[in-house]
Symmetry: D2
Subunit: 345 residues, 4 copies
């Protein structure tokens, strides 16, 4: 049952976070770690906090013998991923953390990513990995497209409400905030400590690539096309993601109906928690965990509600959900290897 696991793109933050969980996961054996530009180096050169663990050296993808690999986590940049995955043997199962297989409509993909998809047949095969919403399809999938961080924080509160018809599908406004690790480990000016510390700002206003991913999920839930207002913001903290969502209640519905739907949907979910009115979620309370905390408040403006949700962008928003999906794919309890209490303070 132990899976020989390869992490493609192991030297970034999502790669490191996969290792944090997989090194304690009872069914995981780390068999290969790839890092194109740093191939040949020991893993500790880029992941010095893992110096105590016995890890394979970093290598190039072509150096991996995929005949000996059972399971692949793909944490490569958007765009390059589709060709890498297309070249993998059908015997390996894959959770892909890039955006390459999240959008099912090839036209929408081309519109937002400025090039035709290079593995459209896999795009159709891939299953969207929002675990709590799509669990049955994930179980049988060979390729799971792990959701983006903003889409996870946004869709978990919204999808059940749209399905149940307690909120309207128009005028959904998502004001989202992310810690800096969401931008990855890339060497760019905006990632420097001195460019981020002690300040905040919006970015990608009205043009962030997570918008069509969110709309895809909300449209499916609403049964008709949904266009959202979505503004991401960068906040000076390493981890954490917060979505403040402004919705219009369906006729006759109240925040009590929202809570009722949520509790029904998530009653048995180990990773989704509904907080009481007056107890807003806090990103620190889910830091390092695979949890999503959410609550709802009646707005002062008539027929409006405010939904708040918090996740750790690197865990439920990336590597934690990836492992949750692996657990589903392998028939393991979903919490396997993911038991963590928030690191406070």
């Amino acid at each position: 049952m132990t899976q020989n696991i390869a992490i493609l793109g192991a030297s970034g933050y999502t790669g490191a976070e996969l290792l944090r969980f997989l090194l304690r996961h009872p069914a995981a054996r780390i068999a290969a770690l790839t890092a194109e530009r740093n191939a040949g180096q020991p893993a500790r050169a880029l992941l010095p906090h893992l110096t105590d663990h016995d890890l394979p050296d970093l290598c190039k993808i072509e150096a991996v013998d995929f005949g000996k690999i059972d399971f692949v986590f793909c944490a490569l940049p958007h765009g390059t991923t589709q060709e890498v995955i297309a070249a993998l043997p059908p015997s390996v199962r894959i959770v892909d953390l890039s955006a390459d297989f999240r959008l099912t409509d090839t036209n929408v993909y081309q519109e937002w990513y400025d090039h035709a998809h290079r593995a459209p047949q896999l795009q159709h095969e891939a299953v969207y990995g929002l675990t709590e919403i799509n669990r049955d399809a994930i179980r049988k999938a060979r390729i799971v497209a792990n959701p983006g961080c903003y889409p996870t924080a946004s869709q978990l509160p919204l999808i059940p409400l749209l399905r149940a018809g307690v909120i309207e599908a128009d005028d959904i406004i998502i004001d989202a905030k992310s810690g800096v690790s969401g931008a990855g480990r890339e060497l760019k000016l905006g990632n420097l400590y001195c460019e981020v510390n002690e300040g905040m700002q919006a970015y990608g206003v009205a043009q962030h690539r997570h918008a069509p991913e969110i709309e895809q999920g909300l449209s499916a839930a609403a049964g008709r096309p949904v266009t959202i207002t979505f503004t991401p913001h960068l906040v000076p903290m390493s981890r954490g993601m917060y979505a403040s969502t402004y919705v219009r209640l369906a006729a006759g519905k109240t925040v009590a109906d929202i809570e009722h739907v949520w509790r029904q949907t998530y009653a048995n979910e180990p990773f989704v928690k509904i907080l009481a009115v007056g107890q807003p979620p806090v990103t620190r309370h889910v830091r390092g965990t695979n949890l999503c905390h959410m609550n709802a408040t009646t707005d002062r403006a008539p027929n409006r509600a405010i939904l708040l949700s918090a996740i750790d962008n690197l865990v439920k928003g990336a590597s934690g959900q990836a492992i949750q999906n692996m657990n589903v794919m392998l028939g393991l309890p979903e919490t396997t290897g993911l038991e963590q209490t928030a690191l406070i303070p």
Copy 2:
């Protein structure tokens, strides 16, 4: 022309920030500093970064000889302020940084502050100190009610647009973010470093006291009652305030109309700057300054625009605007003593 100045409540962050500017202000002489619980101590005991300056010792309010004071900045807690100001001689002019005189409707005050106003005649006399909007009234005022930080960041973009009718007065959603100094220097759990660092959250959802202050200004601008959706958030940085405001365009209007109105309104304002599309404001870029940066973006959702505005909550959101108002009241150039370039990084 030199003003003998008393700062009531000098030991908090707005008091310290008043001193940062007034110690370099050509028309200011610091004559008295009060701090009830620390009366008798040297100022440097609570303001150790001012150890190089020659400052009067902290004293109780009743120890101040107001006959020798020309100008008072009142930075006391909400509620106590109204009685203190009522007891001041009519010869002193006052900028009050508390919330006590911001709301003109005594019923609204009572509803949000849970007690009847104790100086309602002064409440009517006081002039609301959003300088760029209310300059003429401020010039002649004896008591200026300095706006709150959220109301400053929110009203500067919105008021001209409502006056000009380029946006609708319904469905205004303000998602606001504040640095920690907005909560003051109070010894409470939520202000501790380890409770704030590396995390963020909403607070006061649908019940923050700055909502009626904003609605008062927007209603006046729109010519009819306005109810807003307003959610403040706490962000791990000492200073900075950001408002992301979601509005509906009036029929036939576009973001170009918004920019046109803004540029007309603020063309000659030294402290309000309109940024280009695609250049979102950043709180760091106004840190330590009295500036407000703002821009507007066409939303993907039809007939919607996203307004972004950034201030330093302690400067344009408090002490800087207070001094700007003093300058207006004294007939000085508004920038006097407020020339500052942002501290970057």
Copy 3:
């Protein structure tokens, strides 16, 4: 074998950190949580990140039925602890995280804590809980005095070197740096976010109470009285502790001898890791873990070496070592419940 555990003083950061580990510890059952000022409240009121766990309500110490308790972690303030522990029945075993039982010499205690010890017989009974150094005595102890954070970070590198005689016992200079959680969760000005963020400083210069604790351990190792130079500093981060120690090499000894002694001493220790020359320890690399990373460098000044050590002040410097000691006392593998990989980033 399951231990019914009471945490006295559960609402502080060391209490929260004990719970983070104990809630996953196979031999632990949380039976009582005390918090004097917040007795009667649910645990989540003060530990909201533990809202997903089923915890007993906070109570006063006198409300605990110690007849049903097997093991006590005492995380109370210094001074009050000694009387509380003196009143516990002899059937419970105790790890005390306060300073009350760390100093074995009652005169030294009185000199540094300004009052005579109120349970001197227990002071003699208590065993100093620097696990790697004192394991045999800890195994049989009823009361273990868990070391301070600075003493842990300082003594782990120094004690083996003094025992082996590779460094001199004179002129040991420890320049130590701590994250803010080391100051606890107390409501004092110096703990506020805005008083700590974006700045650093020394404190308690030449008079910090951890100095005699360190000297006690070093004197025992050296076989003669040792007086150290010790300067703690406060650094703007929630967790982390760093000791930069400047030592004089014994005649004919080199840094290779230091490394040799360390590797001999700590070869089989799961929580102490010797890093290579040129790879200085980093507090982030041990964050959230019970690890101590250390290395040594040959100084440019003749016959001098620079020792660097890093721990997480709340884990190896407090709650993690406390659980490590419990594991020793119970005959469990020392890593039980303490397997954690650093939270990066």
Copy 4:
């Protein structure tokens, strides 16, 4: 008297900081800003917080007409600077913020910088710009080598004490801590927010290039060669530098003698302040200012003292001292353009 000023290397943090002061300096007119890789862009592209100011576009060095330039601040990387300055006409006066002209001994330069100096005659001409110590030579200099940040924080306390013979020249240990801006605006992994935030470490242990610069100054003061122990540390804050220096008192001398020498030396200095015993310097208290705060404490170890000093690494440690030197060179009051109160919080 107005100086036409060119800043070479304007797009880094020291360049931005020069502009913060020079834009308010009564004798300065910004005539040229160079940035090799970003030549042709408007200054606001890299210095967006200066968007409100009218600045020349960024250009290449060869595009500057130095015949129209009176004064040059050179903020280029180490190594390239020497050739650039050698090519400037003799009519311009220069403050160089790089390390290229700080060491007067060409052999020492070669030893630490791994290449022969390419303008040794200018190396001899350049005057070391530690203003308070070297003011007379600076006044007449054409080229001033502005000191490094660590050397400024270290030498200001030590030089007067060595000159006066109140401390011994042996066994000086400097444990220094720097904010992240000290590493510049370079795109390297160690400068990323997520690599620095919530952690600290030593670096360059026993091999940092500021060591010979400090030793050069201390040797001159002591009248004999001095070898120091010097360990720099990186602390998670944007600005701030702290030196904790451990010294041995000369026979019969006490901390009172240290304070006496300091007060004599710095009595009339506007930028050096001696703090009382028990009031350790704090980097926040000098943030954004050209101040150096220092104090001394009697150690518990016999005949030892602990010196603490704090500066803002970008101001007194770089750009502020550069302008102070310009003021000296121009015969202006030294505080011209440098009046700033610390930004608190």
